[in-house]
């Protein structure tokens, strides 16, 4: 195959060498247009340069033009490819188009319309799904993670995948910071997991205020616009994409082996007793293995420590190791028989399988453009029994009724199954290596150590709980577009969304320990219906060098949801029918409904004006209304404006044109709103419940109870963001280097906060508009084509960004009198919430851990209420006590600098290799697990559990970064342990092989690609506890996939 590739290339070169200048008679030209892999490109435009004569390639990439004057030049262009110019020649021409990486002519979705990247005045970044094909993104978040500068995508290790999204830092204290999602031009309020990544063609992230401002009150956190695939060619194209994934457990500390467990546990017991070795000689050996006592200390002396002389030393020892509750007989038996339980094997699904299959059919002709797909996604998780399944389907259909009128439907249906009952991995260390899973009769034991309440058999739920959690979602848009005279056009979208959700759970009456409750059911049903209507009027006109593109919007929306739950138990005569026969449950413990309603509306106008394609102007205004806001302020207006100047088109830049292909500077200013505060935040609500009295006759009288749950705030209004963005786009050396740089300042005003109130009011907080936050940051994005040889193409895209934020104002200035009696006006910090004027929203204000108290410091430690082995804090004011006056600023919880790096290689034309990594630096994360205290991290008691292989302090090993087992969490104060969680993650490594066309003719396929990739291949970090982004069991994924096009 490499042979033919070389030939093709030579052929093309020979074409251009044949150019001559003298006249010859016209000729008929035919040819084939294909990509570098020799796959035909259907729909490419072939134009005779300097004329209006053109044609489009057919299904097989073929074209023909009659009567072309010999020597004429043909321009062959295709979206996403570099335009080629070749000299027309008689006979069968072969033209190879190279993929374009210079994105200037890319079409970017900007909300209620599209624009060429070239004409943008705002900061927009585009992610192309085609680029990520070999990486089989499992979710929308996977596609965005590490591929969009300025966008932080959280990590989610569940089989469902996902992660939180945050554009350009945190700009709100209380309201949601999730960006607005727009799918095919309409606002999307469903679950991101309902969107099949295989259906996505591009994603555009609007980061600056001006671009986002078209979404007004919804846009303060940025906007992510998702465009789904459309039909591309005349002949129906059928694509199968199938892949299989294996999960592997990535970084984790590992579980103690049974032997390690025994010596660890003896340290736990000793630590629990306060290391008071003076109270009783030899007490240090209290829980030691009697076979391993030091010389000079006899077994009898050791037994005498607990008045147990004459007893079997092993039994005594195991009993002492059992701490407060003792080791259960079943544990002792299991130790003596050497039959430990292999928890890793029982609980970890180390070879979890995942599969993802999508089939799509698409095509287009003059009248119809269609794309339809069906996908099944079935993932196992890290925990045994953990599973996520979804069926997703999409149909995009557009019909040109007449030349002037288009109707279309985009419909998405998804059915999610989240009803798996997995083992709880957090239960792993809530057990011990010894014990027994089963009772003598073969049924599951309630607790493998017979210690009910501390250790529940992790398999119990898997056996005795039945769950059904399903969500069916229908999201669609029905639209009509019409062309009107004088450059006007009109579009109306009707976008309904239906969601049916249920969550049924039944715990069998046979579940050990709950038999007496006779089966327990919870049955919840939810129904959501919302709709939006967009009326869009657009005007597009050119006058000479003036070009105007205006858009007007009228929008209305309504949300309604209905939710009801019944909890019941005590089934008679039996619970064999479970939730399906909840009427058989005698005791109804809960019946509740939660119905909600919200409405909104919007008017928006936008004008894009450009002069000579050099000077660009965008002006937008949007007025939004939302029912959640106080009746005083239901509406607000959000304006924006932006300017762009294409420098490189100016005459004075001529000298640089040999290297600087394109340069544009842009500046934008705009305001955006945030309304995500809850649908009833402004109203005073009464929570209702019930209570019981007994009347004088001795009968029960149920009474209703009502109590206010929040303070009303009729003046609640929108949170506003005002941001200024300076940016530059550039392209050098014929597009081999291109990129953008942006600097922004964003001010958030009228912050929606849960304002802390003195709890003397009986309320802890009230939702109010207060304060101000400033965000500023810089983003650099660079795309380079490092090499573009016939057999080796290497491209890199790199971005780096940094965001800083600062609280400017909180509750307003109040008079404060200092020690000298001087009174000044000061805006006070909110220490209760951890918010400080002139500090990062995510700042850490806490006690400073400076090490671990040494044995030699016992007396000092004691004076603070600590013991050796506990974490040592800094007594900042040296008053001999730890109070809030000793709290200091330690850092921040969000990264200071982030980068993404992606390298792609095409080798021998058929091999694609890529690797992508991202790094986050400067953030601190809580590692309270290092205290080995009982309650931090939700862990139970270490004298009843086992443990991961983590370091811990002992008198013989006085380390400084981990405390002793069961250390003190504080002495009259609370503190947290903070550690750096900076990291670099090799997020994806992929390799793909495209089977040459020649090999496919037998199976009549148009394309076949095989790919293999590893997700989360490696992490580099000083962080020591599981994964730095996900402090728990985290998988790596290895995937093999096939993509077949017929």
């Amino acid at each position: 195959m490499s042979f033919s590739a070389v030939q093709l290339h030579a052929e093309k070169i020979s074409l251009s060498k044949n150019s001559t200048n003298f006249e010859r008679p016209p000729v008929d030209v035919t040819g084939t247009v294909s990509d570098v892999r020799n796959a035909p490109l259907a729909g490419a435009t072939v134009t005779i340069k300097g004329t209006r004569i053109s044609t489009v390639t057919d299904q097989n990439g073929k074209f023909s033009l009659r009567g072309v004057s010999d020597g004429a030049v043909l321009q062959i262009s295709f979206s996403g490819y570099l335009t080629e110019e070749v000299q027309a020649a008689a006979g069968a021409m072969k033209v190879t188009l190279r993929e374009q990486i210079n994105q200037l002519t890319d079409v970017v979705v900007v909300g209620y319309g599209t624009q060429r990247k070239k004409d943008l005045t705002g900061a927009v970044v585009q992610v192309k799904a085609t680029q990520l094909e070999n990486e089989n993104a499992r979710s929308v978040q996977d596609m965005l993670r590490g591929n969009a500068p300025g966008l932080d995508v959280g990590f989610n290790a569940s089989p469902k995948g996902g992660g939180d999204l945050r554009v350009r830092g945190r700009a709100s204290l209380t309201a949601s910071t999730t960006p607005l999602i727009v799918v095919d031009g309409v606002i999307y309020q469903g679950d991101l997991s309902d969107i099949n990544p295989n259906d996505i063609s591009t994603m555009d992230v609007l980061k600056d205020a001006s671009s986002a401002a078209v979404f007004g009150a919804r846009s303060a956190n940025g906007v992510i616009l998702i465009s789904t695939k459309k039909g591309k060619s005349g002949k129906p194209v059928v694509t199968f994409n199938s892949n299989y994934t294996m999960n592997k457990l990535a970084r984790w500390p590992g579980l103690l082996s049974p032997e390690e467990f025994l010596s660890w546990r003896s340290d736990v017991i000793y630590s629990m007793r306060g290391y008071d070795s003076t109270s009783k000689p030899g007490i240090k050996y209290w829980a030691w293995d009697p076979k391993k006592l030091p010389s000079g200390f006899t077994v009898d002396q050791w037994l005498a420590l607990g008045n147990q002389v004459g007893q079997d030393p092993t039994t005594v020892w195991l009993n002492r190791l059992g701490g407060t509750v003792g080791m259960a007989p079943v544990e002792i038996e299991s130790y003596k028989n050497n039959t430990p339980i292999d928890w890793e094997k029982l609980m970890l699904n180390k070879n979890g399988r995942q599969q993802d299959h999508t089939v799509s059919v698409s095509g287009r002709n003059e009248t119809f453009n269609y794309y339809t797909s069906f996908g099944i996604f079935d993932n196992e998780g890290m925990a045994v029994g953990e599973r996520f399944k979804t069926f997703r389907s999409r149909t995009n259909l557009e019909a040109n009724i007449t030349k002037y009128l288009t109707f279309g439907v985009n419909m998405q249906f998804a059915s999610r199954d989240e009803g798996a009952v997995p083992v709880r991995l957090s239960d792993m260390i809530r057990s011990t290596p010894f014990g027994n899973l089963y009772q003598a009769d073969g049924r599951l034991r309630s607790s493998t150590t017979d210690n009910i309440g501390n250790n529940t058999n992790p398999l119990i739920d898997v056996y005795y709980v039945k769950r059904s959690v399903k969500s069916n979602n229908l999201f669609g848009t029905v639209y009509a577009k019409g062309k009107l005279p004088w450059g006007f056009s009109y579009q109306v979208n009707y976008t309904p969304r239906f969601e049916w959700f249920h969550n049924y759970e039944h715990t069998s009456s046979k579940r050990p320990l709950l038999e007496s409750r006779g089966g327990i059911t919870s049955r919840r049903d939810d129904r959501t219906f919302q709709w939006q209507i967009d009326n869009l009027l657009m005007w597009n006109k050119k006058f000479g060098k003036h070009s105007i593109d205006a858009t007007g919007l009228f929008n209305a929306e309504k949300f309604q949801s209905f939710s009801s739950t019944i909890n019941a138990e005590n089934y008679l005569p039996n619970d064999n029918l479970g939730w399906n026969a909840i009427q058989a449950a005698r005791l109804v413990t809960l019946v509740t409904a939660n119905d909600q309603y919200a409405t909104g509306d919007a008017i928006m106008g936008r004008i894009n004006y450009s002069y000579d394609d050099k000077y660009l102007l965008t002006v937008t205004g949007r007025r939004d209304g939302y029912s959640a806001f106080g009746q005083g302020n239901p509406r607000a207006f959000f304006p924006s404006a932006a300017l762009g100047w294409v420098l490189s088109d100016e005459k004075f830049m001529k000298n640089t044109s040999d290297w600087l292909e394109y340069a544009k500077v842009r500046v934008s200013y705009g305001e955006n709103g945030n309304r995500e505060i809850g649908r009833y935040a402004a109203l005073s609500q009464l929570s209702s419940n019930s209570y019981l009295y007994t009347n004088t006759a001795g009968s029960n009288v149920g009474v209703g109870t009502v109590q206010t749950i929040n303070m009303s705030n009729p003046n609640l209004r929108w949170e506003r963001n005002a941001s200024l963005n300076f940016g530059a786009d550039f392209s050098l050396k014929g597009g081999k280097i291109s990129g953008a740089i942006d600097y922004y300042v964003r001010q958030t005003r009228d912050l929606l906060v849960n304002r802390a109130l003195p709890n003397v009011t009986g309320f802890s907080s009230v939702v109010a508009n207060l304060g101000a936050i400033d965000n500023s940051g810089i983003e650099l994005n660079l795309n380079t084509e490092n090499m573009n040889k016939a057999n080796f193409v290497w491209r890199t895209s790199f971005s780096i960004w940094s965001n800083k934020n600062k609280i400017i104002k909180l509750y307003g200035k109040v008079p404060v009198t200092d020690a000298t009696g001087k009174t000044t006006l000061v805006d006070q910090d909110d220490q209760a919430n951890g918010w400080f004027i002139n500090r990062n929203v995510n700042t850490i204000w806490d006690f400073k851990v400076v090490g671990v108290w040494k044995t030699s410091e016992a007396a000092t430690a004691k004076s603070f209420g600590f013991n050796p082995g506990d974490f040592k804090l800094e007594d900042v004011n040296k008053d001999g006590k730890f109070t809030i006056d000793d709290k200091v600023f330690l850092g921040q919880t969000v990264p200071k600098v982030s980068f993404n790096l992606r390298n792609e290689f095409t080798i021998y034309k058929n091999w694609d290799v890529s690797f992508q990594l991202y790094g986050r630096f400067g953030q601190l994360t809580q590692l309270n697990e290092a205290t080995h205290a009982t309650l931090f991290g939700g862990v139970m008691f270490y004298d009843r559990s086992q443990f991961y292989k983590l370091p811990y302090w002992t008198p013989d090993n006085q380390i400084d970064d981990y405390a002793r087992m069961m250390s003190a969490e504080g002495s009259g104060i609370k503190f947290n342990v903070w550690r750096s969680s900076s990291f670099v993650r090799v997020n994806n490594v992929s390799i793909a092989y495209t089977v040459p066309k020649s090999a496919l003719s037998k199976i009549k396929a148009q394309g076949l690609k095989l790919y293999f990739n590893v997700q989360n291949a490696a992490v580099f970090s000083p962080w020591t506890y599981f994964d730095p982004e996900n402090k728990f069991f985290t998988p790596s994924y290895g995937t093999f996939g096939v993509n077949l096009t017929l």
Binding site: D450, G453, I533, D601, V703, Q707, P758, Q828, G865, K974
Partner: protein, 612 residues
């Protein structure tokens, strides 16, 4: 074709026009529409609405006695009767000098619930204020009904302020529903608040009926609370008057004969009957002034029940308890000797002191300390139940022993604090419908009982130096428990407090009552045990501290538990620390911190008047 395009276009424009018009014409389009919740404006307008608001307060009062680490334990361990007994973690309130600070975690079931009290009382104040403020404008409710509702709301508000002022001293006071964020609270003098509560309760006493549903407020409960506040104000005659009104009215009587569920069980007795969950709400039970309600199966039931068996019983299932032949004697699994059901799996969190289990029992006939009928349980009344040693140890099924014949301890880890003490089974035993091992399930609980009214009056008499009157009232309570009456010259405040401990353990807020007594000593300057007290140095020398150090061996002797943590307490613990977040969030005023805690240096003189 051309024609049809035009038609389509027209139709299209029409649709667009209709849409635009319909949308813009709805004036109330953005009106919020609450569907599944009530709002004050549509609910607190009639009698059922206000009754529901009062029932909500009753529900909030209830939680003091319920769940894991129930708040009542914090009240109980700041006294002579109990200490925190858990030893498996750091943080439980053992070393009070180190752990009880304004910056500590003051609301944690494993540590203490001081912060819970602070928040809960102010929640109740807020809910009561909502009723008192809103009912004033309602014209449609008859005056008598209105006054009864108002009286009940006053009762709850006074209930909260009585507790606040004896847990925290001078505290902020609001008497109106707040409609704006208020950040300028200042502390008000305790007596000023109590004086206002007295006035309110006198109104309530005149307007709340004597007879009401159990769980609701009646005049007896009002009079009982009024008595406490009269005492707190040093108004002993008023206290005698208000308590006598309750005692003499006739609606309420001590239960002196057998009744209820176990009445025919001759092994049991009236003390047993009085504390049976199903007997607490019988109409024949005339001793109840005010109780909180929790019934299994009712939607209003608490999730975890009273949990008394888990909280207040020793950790008798601890593996460290050995048989005299050295085997593990006890187990917490399902075995034939089912201690886990009969007594539950105690964890020794609320560990009775020798004062409560031994010293105060001065009459062997006292039914409240009677092991024969099963009212009272000593460890030695339990038997070794570890079925694994059945057959191999002769001690299986035999009674527990603390020591071997040679005197050596049979608790291998030495933890007799947590594992080994006696308890009042008649009170703590509550059938558990929810789980196994039993922890104490759903049951009503007494808040005010007539027995306490007698003891309050006894106190008032004693303060007035009427020892005979005091003796008579104490003896009324004692005789019911089968004791002989005290002769002349025995009864003093110490004896009365002992009687309270015998009768009201795990019912009364012991710390609140001790602090109240300490305040009266400081106010009256009355001499006791050769000591007098003043208000000036209340936080450094007070009756509260002296009494605890005289009676509670753990604090007095500086006992250390097996973790090496020492039991300590200080005079300033007579008042709890105000949780720091409350002070921090009050940026425009000063909420005083109690002397002895960090932050008290910023205090301002407390107000003499409740601000409007």
């Amino acid at each position: 074709m051309k024609h049809s395009t035009h038609t389509l276009m027209k139709y299209f424009a029409l649709v667009a026009f209709v849409l635009l018009v319909t949308q813009s014409c709805q004036k109330d389009w953005l009106q919020p529409k609450p569907l599944s919740f009530f709002s004050p404006e549509n609910t607190l307008i009639d009698e059922p609405g206000f009754n529901a608001a009062l029932a909500a307060i009753a529900r909030n009062v209830r939680d003091e006695w319920y769940g894991d680490g129930a708040p009542i334990i914090s009240e109980t361990i700041f006294s002579e009767v109990a200490v925190e007994g858990t030893t498996d973690k750091f943080g439980p309130a053992v070393n009070l000098n180190v752990l009880i600070t304004p910056d500590a975690n003051l609301n944690n079931v494993d540590f203490n619930r001081i912060g819970w009290y602070w928040e809960r009382w102010y929640l109740i104040v807020r809910l009561a204020n909502t009723v008192t403020t809103r009912i004033a404008d309602i014209k449609t409710i008859p005056e008598a009904t209105k006054n009864a509702i108002l009286g009940k709301a006053y009762f709850y508000r006074a209930y909260a302020y009585y507790r606040l002022t004896h847990e925290f001293g001078d505290v902020p006071c609001t008497l109106k529903e707040l409609t704006d964020a208020k950040l300028d609270f200042n502390s008000v003098k305790r007596e000023v608040i109590l004086q206002k509560m007295k006035t309110d309760l006198e109104f309530a006493f005149a307007n709340v009926p004597w007879v009401a549903n159990k769980g609701d407020v009646n005049r007896g409960a009002v009079g009982h609370l009024l008595t406490k506040i009269n005492l707190a104000l040093g108004l002993f005659d008023d206290a005698i008057a208000s308590s006598t009104a309750v005692i003499n009215n006739g609606t309420f009587k001590l239960m002196t004969s057998r009744f209820g569920a176990d009445a025919s069980n001759t092994k049991r007795n009236v003390i047993w009957d009085l504390h049976r969950p199903v007997n607490k709400f019988l109409s024949s039970n005339t001793e109840v002034l005010f109780s909180v309600i929790d019934r299994f199966g009712d939607p209003s039931a608490t999730a975890s029940g009273v949990n008394t068996m888990r909280q207040a019983l020793p950790f008798s299932s601890n593996a460290a308890i050995l048989t005299p032949d050295g085997k593990q004697g006890m187990t917490n699994t399902v075995v034939e000797i089912d201690h886990m059901k009969n007594y539950g799996r105690g964890i020794g969190r609320c560990r009775s002191t020798p004062y409560h289990t031994k010293y105060i029992w001065d009459d062997v006939k006292d039914l409240r300390h009677d092991t024969l009928s099963g009212n009272w349980m000593e460890m030695e009344n339990l038997t070794y139940n570890n079925q694994a040693i059945k057959g191999s140890s002769p001690f299986y099924g035999q009674r527990l022993q603390l020591r071997k014949a040679d005197g050596s301890l049979l608790v291998s880890n030495g933890d007799t604090i947590r594992n080994w003490y006696a308890w009042p089974h008649y009170k703590m035993y509550v059938e558990d419908q929810i789980r196994y091992p039993w922890q104490g399930g759903n049951s009503d609980w007494y808040a005010f009982r007539l027995a306490e009214t007698y003891l309050l009056r006894a106190e008032a008499y004693w303060w007035k130096n009427d020892v005979a009157g005091a003796t008579a009232d104490v003896n009324t309570v004692r005789r019911r428990a089968g004791c002989d009456a005290y002769g002349a010259g025995v009864v003093d405040i110490g004896t009365i407090l002992d009687e309270r401990a015998r009768e009201l353990y795990y019912e009364e807020p012991r710390k609140t009552e001790l602090t109240r007594v300490a305040y009266i000593f400081a106010k009256t300057g009355k001499s006791f045990n050769g000591k007098t007290y003043t208000a000036n140095n209340f936080s450094t020398a007070n009756f509260f501290y002296d009494r605890i150090m005289a009676k509670n061996d753990f604090y007095a002797k500086g006992v250390k538990n097996i973790r090496g943590d020492q039991y300590t307490i200080s005079p300033y613990h007579v008042l709890w620390p105000v949780p720091r977040p409350a002070i921090l969030a009050n940026s425009l005023g000063v909420i005083n911190q109690n002397i002895g805690y960090s932050g008290a240096e910023k205090n301002k003189p407390a107000l003499d008047k409740i601000p409007d």
